[in-house]
């Protein structure tokens, strides 16, 4: 624990402390090659899925049976699936679905989990007890099974995949937020704010929230990758996004019955999932190392 970024850069008692902290964090992050690689991979996928219509005007769901199950070639770089559709294009278009699901699910988990975690940690007492017991119960279901159980009730499809995966991420978000609030609640500046009569809401959002952002951001980044795997898992089982939508997991599910005839159909969508999740994991690890001063020695 040699350097204390927050302390060395700090102009005390001002918001400049935060800016300094974030700026040093960013500099550290940019020096971390693995994290940069992760960020670049994610950027490439985001750009490709946004620009997809520009370089591929055809409908990625349009069938062309004459070219069904072609192995990779120069003309069709990743080959075609059982209905003659370009796998490369379906992966690129599918990126929109996977990224949209994962971002929406994480936003849902944060929108519900962070406020509950803040309230639970800050107020303590009865309300904390109730929130924590509910969290305990949600955590007693393996997360993927929680998502699966929710889908079995809500039904299949894009919207329900987002809701199920998002809810599965809520209990962890509550736990992490609450844990951080507990350690910050007793800090002098919070006590000072309380002593001068600042309202609880203001204390929570002005003084506590900014100081618990780092672990929340780090975990949200890691959860983005997890959400992609969860959504793909649901799609693979046939209870997620439904065909013909080119969702990566759904594509893998279709490729499963073609392992002998055309192994490439199941291979490439999995590589896409792997790369994006790897990207989020590298970025998440990098963010943790860069932003969390307690881990400064790493």
């Amino acid at each position: 624990m040699t350097d204390h970024p927050a302390k060395t850069a700090a102009a005390p008692e001002s918001t400049g402390q935060e800016y300094g902290h974030w700026r040093i964090g960013l500099a550290k992050l940019l020096r971390n090659k693995a994290a940069c690689f992760g960020a670049v991979v994610i950027l490439i996928f985001i750009l490709a899925s946004f620009l997809a219509p520009v370089f591929y005007a055809k409908d990625p769901n349009a069938q062309d049976i004459r070219h069904a199950l072609e192995p990779p070639s120069l003309q069709r770089p990743l080959g075609t699936d059982e209905l003659g559709r370009s796998i490369l294009m379906r992966i690129i278009y599918g990126g929109r679905i996977s990224l949209a699901i994962s971002i929406s699910a994480v936003v849902l988990a944060l929108l519900v989990g962070v406020p509950f975690g803040l309230i639970s940690g800050y107020f303590g007492g009865k309300i904390d007890f109730i929130i924590q017991r509910v969290t305990d119960v949600m955590l007693s279901f393996p997360p993927f099974l929680l998502a699966l159980a929710l889908v079995s009730v809500l039904g299949v499809g894009l919207k329900n995949t987002i809701i199920s995966v998002g809810i599965a991420g809520i209990p962890h978000t509550i736990r992490i937020t609450r844990g951080c609030v507990l350690s910050i609640r007793e800090q002098v500046y919070v006590e000072a704010a309380r002593a001068v009569g600042t309202r609880d809401g203001v204390i929570l959002f002005r003084h506590i929230l900014p100081n618990v952002m780092v672990p929340i951001i780090v975990n949200a980044t890691l959860f983005l990758g997890m959400a992609i795997i969860f959504a793909a898992g649901l799609g693979f089982l046939g209870v997620g996004v439904q065909p013909p939508a080119p969702e990566w997991g759904t594509m893998l599910g279709a490729g499963r019955s073609l392992l002998f005839a055309a192994p490439h159909v199941a291979t490439f969508p999995g590589i896409a999932i792997f790369l994006v999740v790897l990207g989020f994991n590298l970025l998440g690890d990098g963010l943790r190392d860069a932003l969390d001063p307690r881990l400064g020695y790493e």
């Binding site: 017991r133 119960v137 997360p143 046939g238 893998l252 199941a266 792997f274 999740v277």
Partner: protein, 306 residues
């Protein structure tokens, strides 16, 4: 120790209640008449009426919940709408298969993950450390079901060494166990490495070394036992992912376990079986966490007195 175990056991009671409440409301959250949904679309008027009576749907909600609890405690999970067999009969043989698979994967992950983590920690920043770290990262980013498909392509389709799926003997267990173990193995390796590195920097390790204890003994006797605690934590934390993974792994390899039963029941809207399978999964998870906490208390006496 005994007191700690009792305290820990008591603390699971509210969780079990919560689980039962959630499962109770799971079926009631479905749109439409629960009795009709549970009986299935093809059920006759009489069958629906029977289920309505069984669940006490004409009575207040708390009476319904009490009835539900009594039935669970008596191991009565209802009747499958698909096969008309009792749900417990459907679940029991598959539960055994899932437990076998999960245990095989856990043992495999420990046998490979712990030594890999130790080697990486003992020789930090060398090639072997980089390889372990990279493999661990890959293992944590790979969707297990895709890994399973790739293993099938390599070992079953191309090399024709192992069966594509199904069950029978130990040969059928190899690929599913590797698939399911991957994620746990990766996180065990990663955490063993960091825990071991932290322990190796402690004073008592330096003391042991300066006493002239051989390096091998320093690692096995002094360092390993102290790095077990974080590793146990990981196993406990990741066991949930492992159980979730059984659903996917079993589907890939047509392994006749609880996960596959759950998926086919969801696709067939066989709600009594869905409810039962999820209940068993949750109980398994609670039970493992209980065991993990006991192991904790065993390895770290400080835990018992908090």
């Amino acid at each position: 120790m005994f007191q700690y175990i009792i305290r820990r056991l008591i603390s699971t009671i509210p969780v079990l209640f919560g689980i039962s409440l959630m499962l109770f409301f799971l079926l009631r959250a479905l749109p439409g008449d629960p009795a009709q949904v549970i009986a299935g679309e093809l059920a006759t008027e009489k069958e629906v009426e029977l289920i309505r009576n069984q669940l006490g749907l004409d009575r207040p909600v708390y009476v319904q919940y009490a009835k539900f609890l009594v039935r669970i405690v008596q191991f009565d999970l209802g009747t499958s709408t698909r096969t008309q067999y009792p749900v417990t009969k459907e679940i029991a043989p598959r539960l055994l298969n899932t437990v076998i698979l999960a245990l095989a994967a856990t043992v495999l992950a420990c046998l490979l993950g712990i030594p890999a983590g130790i080697i990486a920690a003992v020789k930090p920043y060398t090639t072997i450390d980089m390889v372990v770290t990279a493999m661990a990262l890959f293992g944590m980013s790979m969707p297990a079901f895709w890994l399973g498909l790739m293993l099938i392509i390599i070992f079953s389709v191309k090399l024709k060494l192992l069966p594509v799926g199904g069950s029978g003997g130990a040969v059928y267990l190899i690929l599913p166990a590797i698939t399911l173990a991957a994620y746990l193995l990766a996180s065990i390796a990663r955490n063993t490495r960091s825990a071991m590195m932290e322990v190796l920097a402690q004073d008592y390790i330096t003391t042991a070394r300066s006493k002239g204890v051989r390096e091998r003994m320093v690692i096995i006797r002094h360092a390993l036992k102290n790095s077990f605690i974080p590793v146990i934590t990981v196993i406990g934390l990741q066991f949930g992912s492992l159980l979730g993974g059984t659903v996917l792994t079993e589907t890939v390899f047509a392994w006749p376990g609880l996960g596959r039963l759950l998926v086919s029941s969801i696709l067939a809207r066989d709600y009594p079986v869905i409810q039962g399978a999820i209940l068993i999964f949750a109980l398994l998870f609670v039970l493992t966490n209980l065991i993990v906490d006991m192991l904790y208390a065993y390895f770290d006496p400080r835990v018992r007195y908090d």
